[in-house]
């Protein structure tokens, strides 16, 4: 069995972090692959419910980034 990897759900703001993620990809930077990204229109769109349903559906961590 392979080693356990954390499942992290990332809520990225379309205008900030999503752009940064794109840039990191384009510049071929290395980072761990245990991130699942959900793009939100703005970090103001974030709701506590998103965090809760992430955990209810089996995420190990949640990252909100604006």
């Amino acid at each position: 069995m392979s080693e356990w990897e954390p499942k992290i759900l990332a809520f990225l703001c379309n205008w900030c972090s999503y752009g940064a993620a794109d840039l990191a990809g384009v510049s071929r930077m290395q980072y761990p692959p245990n991130l699942r990204v959900i793009r939100i229109p703005c970090s103001g769109r974030m709701s506590p419910k998103f965090v809760l349903s992430a955990f209810m559906n089996g995420a190990d961590g949640v990252w909100v980034s604006g």
């Binding site: 992290i8 940064a20 930077m29 506590p48 965090v51 209810m56 190990d60 961590g61 909100v64």
Partner: protein
């Protein structure tokens, strides 16, 4: 975010599982570094057992939906940064204290309403199911009753049983 983190902590879920970071679109390197940080922190916390925390998560959701918490969160910034009509300002610590009290009480009430969904329970049964002390259960049950969200249902022997009136 702070409120959600506090609620998770109350539920025995480590607050570091939820993180808030700021990255501008020009900071690809910073983004990559944060991915490393966040995945390391989460890896150190270990896997999250969602089945163990179903009740707690449902209670947090209830708490987040209460008018009391929504209004307090909405007012927090204003209370801390603006003068009131008497041109004095509320002590910021007092605002946090009030919010913390509300968070704790709404979370406890959320737990009670969750376990009462499946039918009438006595105070002792509620304490067992939620892991709260009997005293806390009866205190919060009292709050629920005065809000019209729970009431006395029937006696089982000499033990009173309560039901939830909330949806």
């Amino acid at each position: 975010m702070e409120v959600v983190a506090k609620l998770l902590e109350l539920a025995g879920i480590k607050r570091d599982r939820v993180q808030l970071r700021r990255v501008s679109a020009a900071e690809g390197a910073l983004f990559a570094q944060y991915v490393n940080d966040v995945s390391e922190t989460t890896a150190n916390l270990g896997p999250f057992d969602k089945d163990k925390y179903q009740l707690q998560l449902a209670a947090i959701e209830r708490a987040c939906n209460t008018r009391r918490l929504r209004w307090l969160i909405g007012m927090e910034h204003h209370l801390q940064n603006h003068d009131n009509v008497y041109e004095t300002r509320t002590n910021p610590d007092l605002v946090i204290e009030t919010l913390d009290e509300a968070i704790e009480s709404e979370y406890h009430k959320g737990l009670l309403l969750e376990v009462l969904k499946d039918g009438p329970l006595s105070v002792r049964e509620m304490a067992e199911k939620t892991g709260m002390p009997v005293y806390t259960v009866s205190k919060r049950l009292n709050e629920l009753e005065s809000d019209g969200m729970a009431e006395f249902d029937s006696h089982e022997g000499t033990t009173p049983k309560f039901i939830s009136l909330a949806a």
